[in-house]
């Protein structure tokens, strides 16, 4: 762990062979990942991929079955209490007290984390500034909208200035406007030097991370920047529109030139080899007597990457 370059080179989180079994089910399977200091790191994957289990182990609330995780240099399995001053962990069901006001919730967490009284006013002001909760300090937490509740949860987690922030699906159930605001807040935290690990099941959110770990059934499928992940899909991605979309997709799936075909919105996304021209790709659709409204080359999305790796 001691590197010749000093502490700055130490990863914020070093995960080696991290595994968690529940009876005969392996929720997280030999995960090895370094999260760099100051990074906004995304854990992306469907329901049941192991995202929550991984975050709970990193937060020191769940013991690994195997492997190690060093969080801020501390082994979470050996010293879960030692990790806690360095991190903030916001679970999916973060414990907001619905019958306490916004202000009372923040005070409660400030007490819990033993934030010195003298530091509190400045800290709260900062949290109100980004969360826009300042206007609602006397409102009961239970009476806030979903987006505001998430912002209050995040504020409570941040009340003690952690080095590392662990967030489990912070935007679940939050509308797009509030979602954007939450991401702006996360980027402000990163600008302040905080390392963030955030899980999400939305691939469009993964685009906002520095690096992304794609998890599926407890295993790491891919780990890279969003740009590099998108670049890993070789060949051409075409968006084909037809009035008989599903038929067009079925026909394309059977074609030799086609590597994959999926419905996406009002188009079929078709992946063909790099050398295949539009008309060659369309030939099976036309041969089946289906109309082609238009065809255009499109950039593969992270969703396409995921479908390639899983589907």
């Amino acid at each position: 762990m001691d590197s010749p370059h000093g502490l700055a080179e130490r990863p914020a989180i070093a995960i080696r062979g991290l595994t968690r079994r529940f009876d005969d089910r392996v929720a997280v399977d030999a995960l090895s990942v370094d999260v760099r200091s100051g990074e906004l790191f995304g854990i992306v994957g469907p329901d049941g991929a192991g995202k929550t289990t991984t975050l709970r182990m990193l937060a020191g609330v769940l013991r690994p079955t195997d492997g190690t995780a060093l969080v801020a240099g501390i082994d979470v399995a050996r010293d879960p209490e030692g990790v806690k001053p360095h991190i903030a962990y916001m679970s999916q069901r973060f414990g907001l007290y619905e019958d306490l006001t916004v202000r009372e919730n923040l005070d409660f967490y400030a007490d819990l984390y033993r934030v010195p009284r003298a530091e509190r006013p400045a800290r709260l002001e900062r949290l109100y500034a980004f969360s826009r909760l300042g206007e609602f300090t006397d409102r009961l937490a239970g009476k806030l909208s979903g987006g505001m509740k998430q912002k209050l949860s995040l504020s409570c987690a941040l009340v003690h200035k952690p080095d590392i922030l662990l967030l489990d699906e912070p935007t679940f159930g939050v509308d797009p406007i509030s979602r954007r605001e939450l991401w702006l807040i996360l980027h402000e935290m990163v600008a302040e030097g905080i390392t963030i690990v955030v899980s999400t099941s939305y691939l469009d959110e993964a685009e906002r991370c520095d690096r992304v770990a794609l998890l599926h059934e407890g295993r790491l499928l891919a780990l890279d920047t969003p740009t590099a992940l998108r670049g890993s899909v070789s060949g051409r991605m075409l968006a084909i529109r037809s009035s008989r979309l599903r038929r067009a997709r079925d026909v394309l799936r059977g074609a030799a030139t086609v590597r994959s075909a999926h419905l996406f919105g009002d188009a079929v996304h078709v992946l063909v080899e790099a050398g295949v021209r539009d008309e060659e790709a369309l030939a099976p659709v036309r041969a089946a007597g289906l109309d082609v409204r238009d065809v255009e080359e499109t950039e593969p999305s992270l969703e396409d990457v995921f479908m390639r790796l899983v589907g």
Partner: protein
């Protein structure tokens, strides 16, 4: 007569107008998306359309029936599936189907046929004796869809039907919806997830109780929104801070280590961005125009209409 016809639909609660003079039509077989941030009036509108809440003003006809006077007739003709799944977690797959068939009066040979259809459509034939509560999320959603369509409704109401599932399960679900739509079922989807909006034929956007846009996803995306540029710079967090406070900027946010900046004026935008960054001693390694996403369009339209309700 269209399956859904709404004219000047309004609902007040005391002096608060939740839905304000909304007018639209949904065509037969259409997948119609109903979008809006929390508090926009989506749920109130759906409650009126499904006969759960009488309108204060205006008219609504669903399957040709008046939402005020013919509520019972409407219930027989519609299917409803919510994000909270109207399933009984402690009943098996088979028992759930049986229960809903009883509720909808689907009996005898028709029951046998519909049950077989549900099991085939949802691919749950091998799971009939499993408890619904123990199924993976994607399976639950397919079962809930089956239960909501046992009585072959001509109009299907879906409330955020695929939130939280992975792209594979989501695509499978929407494949089923596309098949029902092709067979003539009208599908009314309420959501704030752009992933779901992408699958709709047309989208209605609601904000503060009013309809602010109604068009196809493609046409909405093609609408002139403020131009968005992606830029690379040496310090993205600082760049965002510099840009959000600069004149002529609408929004700035990080995407990984890139910055997406929305400017008011296309022609002067690039120069304004460069000047704002130069003022902070930052340089621009590259800058290029990017296509707006559906979420960008959504955010811009809501912003133009006075922003979302906060609180």
């Amino acid at each position: 007569m269209n399956p859904v016809e709404v004219e000047g639909l309004t609902r007040r609660f005391g002096d608060f107008t939740a839905v304000d003079g909304v007018t639209f039509r949904v065509r037969r077989g259409e997948i119609f998306g109903f979008l809006g941030p929390n508090g926009a009036g989506k749920t109130t509108t759906i409650k009126m359309l499904t006969g759960l809440l009488p309108p204060s003003e205006g008219t609504g006809r669903v399957a040709g029936l008046d939402v005020r006077a013919e509520r019972d007739g409407i219930r027989e003709r519609i299917g409803y599936m919510s994000q909270k799944f109207s399933l009984y977690a402690d009943l098996t797959v088979h028992e759930n189907i049986e229960l809903f068939a009883g509720l909808y009066g689907v009996v005898g040979t028709r029951y046998e046929e519909r049950r077989a259809w549900v099991l085939e459509m949802s691919e749950l034939a091998d799971a009939v004796d499993r408890l619904a509560g123990e199924l993976p999320l994607g399976w639950k959603q397919r079962l809930a869809l089956g239960c909501a369509t046992l009585h072959e409704p001509s109009i299907l109401f879906l409330d955020e039907p695929t939130s939280g599932v992975d792209p594979v399960a989501r695509r499978r679900f929407w494949d089923l919806i596309a098949a029902m739509s092709e067979a003539g079922t009208t599908v009314f989807v309420s959501t704030h997830y752009m992933e779901e909006a992408e699958y709709c034929h047309r989208l209605a956007l609601l904000n503060r109780g009013r309809l602010i846009a109604l068009d196809t996803p493609r046409a909405l995306r093609a609408r002139t929104v403020d131009p968005i540029f992606r830029l690379e710079t040496e310090d993205a967090p600082r760049a965002v801070q510099a840009l959000v406070h600069a004149p002529g900027m609408v929004e700035a946010a990080m995407y990984g280590r890139d910055v997406h900046v929305t400017v008011e004026n296309e022609t002067t935008g690039v120069d304004t961005v460069r000047a704002a960054l130069a003022g902070e001693g930052l340089s621009v390694a590259s800058i290029e125009r990017v296509e707006p996403s559906l979420e960008d369009v959504f955010t811009a339209l809501v912003r133009a209409e006075g922003g979302a309700v906060v609180g």
